[in-house]
Symmetry: C2
Subunit: 306 residues, 2 copies
């Protein structure tokens, strides 16, 4: 059996005429007669009754016609689908997040942009620590991940810097500094004597080290009172009055009760990056498309926002 046989058969059945069908198929009549006969022989079934003015379908042919049409249509559909998948217009991608990433408006925005541009690509979102995300990326359980670390590069995984956002101080609502700084920025030195709550270095060394360095530049060594596994947990600890913290500014959108956010003075140069981790060679076209959409959007954002 061969798709050619089905195509020839359908055309002959539609024309009721071998010669005309051959014309439509762009071949000569004798080969078409032969192919039809070959099909009949293979099936062991007569498909057409040869009349002096054309051919007539048998019951068997009528039974086959519908199926043949459907099969040919299915084949076309399948091929189109493969091409779409290869172009990345169809498929599935799994996107990972560091817990704090989705708070920055850029992330949900770019997800929506991609979804609108690739409606046949289904997206699965997954939260996790930076290390887990990178491992998952390497094991192909993930196609890309929004992370905050600037440099867990290497071994098949690359991180594209997308944008940086200022950080801000998170203070317990009743703290003395809250009143004193109402409507003003805070200098890092103001926090020199405070207890700090930071999220664990292993979970994301990038931010941790950056904060440490900034404090050092401001002339003090932060007293780390407590570490939390995630940024959100950090905020909860701050809310319970265990200390102050420094977090990406987008977190302030949370409006947690018991927490007051204060911008930091510009001079600190303390910013939190958002990066997109992905495989250096990625076989999934959908994933490649996703990465390029995100990076392009980030560049546009950078121009528009600065």
């Amino acid at each position: 059996m061969d798709l050619r046989h089905l195509r020839y058969f359908v055309t002959v059945a539609e024309e009721g005429h071998i010669t005309r069908a051959a014309e439509r198929l762009g071949i000569q009549q004798p080969p078409l007669s032969q192919q039809i006969r070959a099909l009949e022989t293979e099936l062991g079934v007569q498909l057409f009754r040869r009349k002096p003015r054309g051919v007539e379908l048998t019951d068997a042919a009528r039974a086959l016609l519908g199926d043949a049409r459907r099969i040919l249509g299915d084949v076309d559909g399948a091929l189109a689908k493969v091409r779409r998948t290869a172009r990345g217009e169809q498929g599935r991608i799994v996107v990972g997040f560091t817990s704090s990433a989705p708070f920055h408006p850029f992330v949900p925005k770019v997800l929506r942009v991609f979804r609108d541009g690739h409606p046949r690509v289904s997206m699965v979102l997954e939260e996790g620590g930076t290390a887990d995300l990178v491992a998952a990326l390497r094991e192909e359980r993930l196609d890309a991940a929004f992370i905050r670390s600037p440099v867990p590069d290497g071994e098949g995984v690359a991180v594209h810097a997308l944008l940086r956002e200022p950080m801000c101080a998170a203070l317990p609502a009743g703290h003395a500094l809250v009143r004193r700084t109402r409507g003003r920025t805070l200098r890092l030195a103001d926090l020199a004597l405070e207890a700090f709550v930071l999220y664990r270095r292993v979970s994301g060394p990038g931010l941790y080290d950056a904060i440490f360095r900034a404090c050092h530049d401001a002339g003090f060594v932060p007293r780390i009172e407590q570490e939390a596994p995630r940024i959100v947990a950090t905020l909860n600890l701050v809310a319970s009055g265990l200390g102050v913290s420094i977090v990406p500014r987008s977190l302030s959108a949370m409006r947690l009760p018991g927490i007051a956010f204060r911008p930091l003075a510009r001079a600190t140069h303390l910013t939190a990056p958002i990066g997109l981790a992905c495989r250096t060679v990625d076989h999934s076209a959908a994933a490649r498309n996703f990465v390029s959409v995100v990076r392009r959007k980030a560049r546009e954002e950078g121009r528009g926002g600065s």
Copy 2:
């Protein structure tokens, strides 16, 4: 595109291995490599990543694999269906009836036998007068018809005699003869003076003429009071007391109120035939099967019943 390509593709995808797939397909490895490459070129899509220990499916290949399997299965299914149709195990037949035929138990019985033996053949039943049935047969709107006429043969339509059943007299319930013949047979001569209700000669000349001839043999010319379009209508007229009639015995199973049936004396040799009309050359295997089942069953019945 070619079914061979799909078959090769599915095998390679399942084995993850061109060499092993070639083995399973009964061909050598180089042609298989070529065919896969040709398929990729035609699609403009890479389907496999060649690794030193086999090949790996791309997203596109995974997308195609399901469709390819389904299509190959559909093709097999379609071919099987064509063969079944050609053998008459699948399809549709339209069977006609003269209105009185289904009263004889043979008819429903043989229909059930055929249905049990050919579960994939759907049957459509159609009632009509003998002339209509034969015309429909000729125009291929019908595949076979149970009729009572012995001889509307000719022009592509043949009638196979199936069996004969005795006829009986149908009398209005209050008629004097009913009481006089309780538990006995009736001789035709007893009806010499009665008014007759017969169904129209044009609707079925066979029975009409047979009855006329039998009366003639019994020494009288029946007085036809009324004609009805169908046998069932005839009985209704008898029930209203318009006259007596002579009908196939199987009609007595109706147990109409107002009608008494009386067997006729054997000597009358008045029997009603049941025949099966069909085309002399029939292209539908299902129809041919139906005719042969009915005829075989009739022969068995004839042996068993006599």
